[in-house]
Symmetry: C2
Subunit: 211 residues, 2 copies
């Protein structure tokens, strides 16, 4: 674990991507992979892949490439694939429903255990096998949940966040347009659809052939 | 434009975020902002904000902060807010519907002009004011569209991408789990919901108080 704290954050962010692709290769019966193949598949340049892998002591062999099983074992341990993290989804609108239909458990041990909504017509039903509870039940139900996906209307983001933090949630994937304020020990990743779209368009105009 | 090509990509990625927040401040009648306030609002540390702004020649004054109107004018020009980019959405499932309901035009000139789906029950209707056409109409309709949001099932991602590129699309926001292959002059930003969730959880475990 001491070695892992030296992995640059940019490298760490690419780990789930590498893991997912290598797992697919493994399922297809492939035993080795070149940095060129990896690069084509995950759209990260070969030099970056080689540098990333060197942080884990995984060195590719010329004309052979990387051993898939070795890498997978390594990533699985690094990503703690054997330890399930329980996730709750807050807000079963269109975006929330998309998440519930999404097959998160295919390649990893991340699981949406429960969902919450204020709409009593949705409460009591299941989507993608996940039960939907009333938002009033939040504090009662979140006893063994570590992370939350936030897909509520923007105006609800901050008050719901405060209830999540009170309930012991330590990580939030914020898909609302609102920026949320949390104590510093809580990790928040924010994905704002409008900002993502504007960012793409900015890059189209100013960095047409970069990256 | 020459100066802009020197802006680091990491800085460029934060521009839409700054723009959005400053525009909100402006709408509230605020005339100045400190890097501390900006930092609290957009969740980027003050030192990074000051460095980012220095690339645009915007220097805050001690005890005064930054002039909101000046910054806005600058960002507006930089982000080409006056030039509308036409966007098409491909795939009107739950995620696609969430995008159509999202108010993209509130703070910028990015507009989803049309949507496409293979489901004839959806074709001919409108969501959030955006008309839905049949996917067979793609090539006929995309005459003045520059960017596409891809929210189709993973298996459809690559064949649809090829049709988009043939139709002159130069940027794709890929929300499918599939990595897509495009000619190098096409810009793709990929947001994989499962990878985002895994990444959050990885960071929760390994970088609990960082960033």
């Amino acid at each position: 674990m001491a070695a892992q704290s030296k992995i640059p954050q940019a490298t760490a962010k690419r780990l789930p991507l590498y893991y997912r692709f290598l797992n697919n290769l493994h399922l297809q019966g492939k035993t080795r992979v070149s940095s060129k193949e990896l690069s084509d598949a995950v759209k990260v340049d070969s030099a970056t892949i080689r540098r990333d892998f060197s942080y884990f002591g995984a060195l590719g062999k010329k004309g052979y490439g990387y051993n898939v099983e070795y890498l997978l074992g390594f990533f699985r341990k690094t990503l703690d694939q054997d330890e399930t993290t329980n996730v709750a989804l807050i807000g079963v609108g269109n975006l929330g429903t998309a998440f519930l239909h999404y097959n998160f458990t295919k390649n990893n041990n991340t699981k949406i255990q429960m969902a919450f909504d204020a709409d009593t017509n949705k409460v009591g039903s299941k989507i993608g096998g996940v039960p939907i509870y009333h938002i009033d039940q939040l504090e009662n139900r979140l006893t063994d949940v570590q992370a939350a996906i936030l897909t509520v209307p923007g105006a609800q983001a901050q008050p719901i966040t405060e209830r999540l933090v009170q309930s012991g949630i330590t990580g939030i994937l914020n898909f609302t347009p609102a920026r949320i304020t949390v104590p510093e020990e809580i990790r928040v990743h924010h994905i704002d659809l409008a900002v993502e779209l504007q960012s793409l368009i900015y890059f189209m105009k100013h960095y047409p052939t970069d990256e």
